[in-house]
Symmetry: C2
Subunit: 228 residues, 2 copies
Amino acid sequence: MCRMARPRKPLLSRERIVGAASALVDAEGLDAVSTRRLAAELGVSGPSLYNHFRNKDEILDAVADAVSAKVDLSMFDASDSRDWRTALHDWAVSYRAALTEHPHVVPVLARGPGRRPAALRVADAVFGAMVRAGWPPAQATRIGALMRYFITGSALGSFARGFVDDESAYDPCDYPHLGQAHLLAERREEIDEGAFETGLRALLDGLAAQYETAVRASRTGPSRTDGP
Amino acid sequence: MCRMARPRKPLLSRERIVGAASALVDAEGLDAVSTRRLAAELGVSGPSLYNHFRNKDEILDAVADAVSAKVDLSMFDASDSRDWRTALHDWAVSYRAALTEHPHVVPVLARGPGRRPAALRVADAVFGAMVRAGWPPAQATRIGALMRYFITGSALGSFARGFVDDESAYDPCDYPHLGQAHLLAERREEIDEGAFETGLRALLDGLAAQYETAVRASRTGPSRTDGP
DNA sequence: ACCTGAACACCGTTCAAGT
DNA sequence: ACCTGAACACCGTTCAAGT
């Protein structure tokens, strides 16, 4: 097959490691990822991984960034730069979908963008789009942050235990309003979905209400209208 | 001191263990808590802890619940049950303050209430207050969930690395709008504070806009006006 | 350059043994 | 009832050695 004699192919690559790690995290959770286990999955011995990543954290960062890379950003380069509300909505939905598809990765992602390129692209895109839509830069920064709070918070709360599926855990004397809380466990997804939609709508409605005054203030304030 | 002879006092108690664990988490982070290290801090050998807790996770749950117990809930039993907006606002601020005081605990707390009594009391209080204020139960559940998303998301993003404090990490060619992103690291708290306030206001404004129609719908819907 | 085995300094948890 | 030491089955990471 090979034309030229080549020093035998490396067994590992960053891509292969990240792929195996992602599969392992999705299937069995973060705790299942040990360097030894991961190496075994790749048919290799533990320390081999250190030829490709500085440490385990870097591997998990790469896994998390692969999830960030799935977030759709196309709505931000639409021609109509003033419909920031729709763009923000569609982005939030796409973001959350990416997270809920890989719930075990969310705790890593929630730490913030750090040095992960895909996460930075996301932050860059939303900030740029808000500024283009007329939001003052300081507000655009806040919007990027608060949307991330809500979306990752939703994906994190959604994934984890939430309420326990056990009636005896919720004594009506202690928690008079949680009579059916154990039922929540069954309807988790439905409730999370609903809470996300309700919250997202409220957030966007509230921001829209602030928009006019924010734009006005930035016009009368420091004349920062450096065109692109 | 003791009147009666007593079989010598136990060295450990759940309270003492939780106290030492909390101090350790606050000072050095979650990773610093190992059963051996914690036991050493208490002047005792590792396995002793298992006489008081079933496993390490139960210890961390107790640490997290001690934080939940600090959340102020008094605004929910104010006489004016219809000012849900102010109550929700003050609660959110108190909740976030409790979390930012113990940032390392947030990942544990974000998993959801589970069986932790203080966390359940929080969920119970906000749900009950929203129902009393006239929100239909299904909406009250959603409000509790979405507020938790936003608050824990905010505390989580706030704590962790966020953006890195290193100019070279953000090449302007790759991220045209993040030119000063490395400056964010310095101003983290300021930005997180501002994003939280902006987001909270937007959320409450948006919910207020939904309130009227929600209440109307519940009145014309299934006549559920069972008095207290 | 890339992989290996051996080694170091740790883990969480169980359990028989002591008091 | 509560604490102990010893033990089991693991960890992440380093490093000299091999190819």
